[in-house]
């Protein structure tokens, strides 16, 4: 992988970290609001189902995680296991796909 590609991965991880920082704050505030307000599961679903704004927000959250986590895991693989090359990259792409699938499954579950 070229120095430019490795640099782009680093930039993607820092950019996704910035997105996640905002997402986590909104997510935590939402949790605290829902719990303190005593919202039931049915009431929460009533607000999220068909709500494009929540769907968009949590989709961005999931995609941010799917970009951020595998790049960080890539460094862990290099430093702890010395794992490099195509097999590592394939495993990381699979991990990213798993995160997107699991995350979007949850997002659709409260949207649809």
């Amino acid at each position: 992988m070229s120095a430019k590609a490795q640099s782009l991965l680093w930039i993607a991880q820092r950019a996704s970290a910035a997105v996640l920082a905002a997402c986590v704050l909104v997510h935590l505030a939402t949790i605290i609001y829902a719990v303190r307000g005593g919202l039931s599961a049915a009431e929460i679903l009533g607000r999220t189902r068909g709500n494009v704004a929540w769907f968009t927000f949590y989709s961005i959250f999931v995609l941010g995680v799917a970009v951020h986590a595998p790049i960080g895991l890539r460094s862990v693989f290099i430093e702890w296991l010395g794992w490099r090359g195509r097999s590592r990259d394939a495993a990381l792409v699979a991990f990213a796909a798993l995160l997107v699938w699991m995350g979007m499954r949850a997002v659709f579950a409260v949207f649809a």
């Binding site: 992988m1 430019k4 490795q6 640099s7 930039i11 460094s75």
Partner: protein, 237 residues
């Protein structure tokens, strides 16, 4: 004067600590201790030094688990319960006793394009660099490296990722990136970007904590990350 109990590494990668008893003296340095052992107790002890005044960077060793320049490290400051454990620098192959093979360390300076590349010849006039310009100040902040290898030995990322260029080589590259006379900046940024370069740094700051010259390779590495980012965004890398 009381005696100092000193454990000194003997052998290569495989070896063991040997115990010595060394008389204490006022203002005694760790290098004084090692020299006393070599001259008075065991002439076969191998170690490296030259200037003895903190300029040449050749006498760095691990002292009680911490990499230090031994010629400027006073025993009073580092001895615990009158004991010293002296070993070769970490992250470098041991040749014998306290002597490490520094080739890998300096080869990485070359890989980081640590050589100045200008366009002027001896027939040209001197380049005039304003001493108070922002770039010149950044160069000043990192230029006094003596190449002792203390930062390299202190760095955990070097231990985990042997390809990593390390703090000293990256600090050197940064001083050249900020040198307005230098003409190979893009090639240098390409050399220091990525998994083996500045992007591998975890900002633990062990290098900055241990640098005997008070430099901050961490700041230099952060500067390189910003420079690479700018270069990528401009399509120059």
């Amino acid at each position: 004067m009381s005696a100092l109990a000193v454990e000194v590494w003997r052998g290569g990668a495989q070896g063991a600590f040997q115990s010595f008893e060394v008389p204490r003296h006022p203002s005694q340095t760790v290098l004084d201790v090692v020299t006393y052992i070599q001259r008075s107790l065991d002439a076969t002890l191998a170690y490296r030094f030259a200037c003895r005044v903190g300029m040449c960077g050749s006498c760095a060793m691990s002292v009680n688990g911490v990499p230090r320049w031994t010629c400027r490290t006073h025993v009073d400051k580092v001895a615990r319960e009158n004991k010293l454990v002296i070993a070769p620098l970490r992250n470098l192959p041991v040749i014998r006793d306290l002597v490490t093979d520094m080739r890998g360390f300096f080869d990485k300076w070359a890989r980081a394009k640590g050589s100045f590349a200008g366009t002027k010849t001896k027939r040209d006039d001197f380049a005039r660099v304003a001493p108070d310009s922002a770039d010149r100040r950044k160069v000043d902040a990192g230029i006094e490296c003596i190449g002792c290898g203390v930062c390299y030995s202190a760095c955990d990322v070097v231990a985990w990722n042997p390809d990593y260029l390390g703090p000293a080589a990256l600090n050197r590259a940064w001083t050249l990136v900020k040198d307005e006379r230098d003409v190979v900046k893009h090639e240098r940024l390409r050399a220091v970007a990525g998994d083996a370069g500045c992007h591998a740094c975890h900002t633990h700051m062990s290098c900055t904590e241990r640098c005997p010259m008070g430099l901050s390779p961490t700041a230099a590495i952060s500067g390189l990350k910003r420079a690479v980012l700018g270069s990528v965004l401009k399509g120059e890398l």
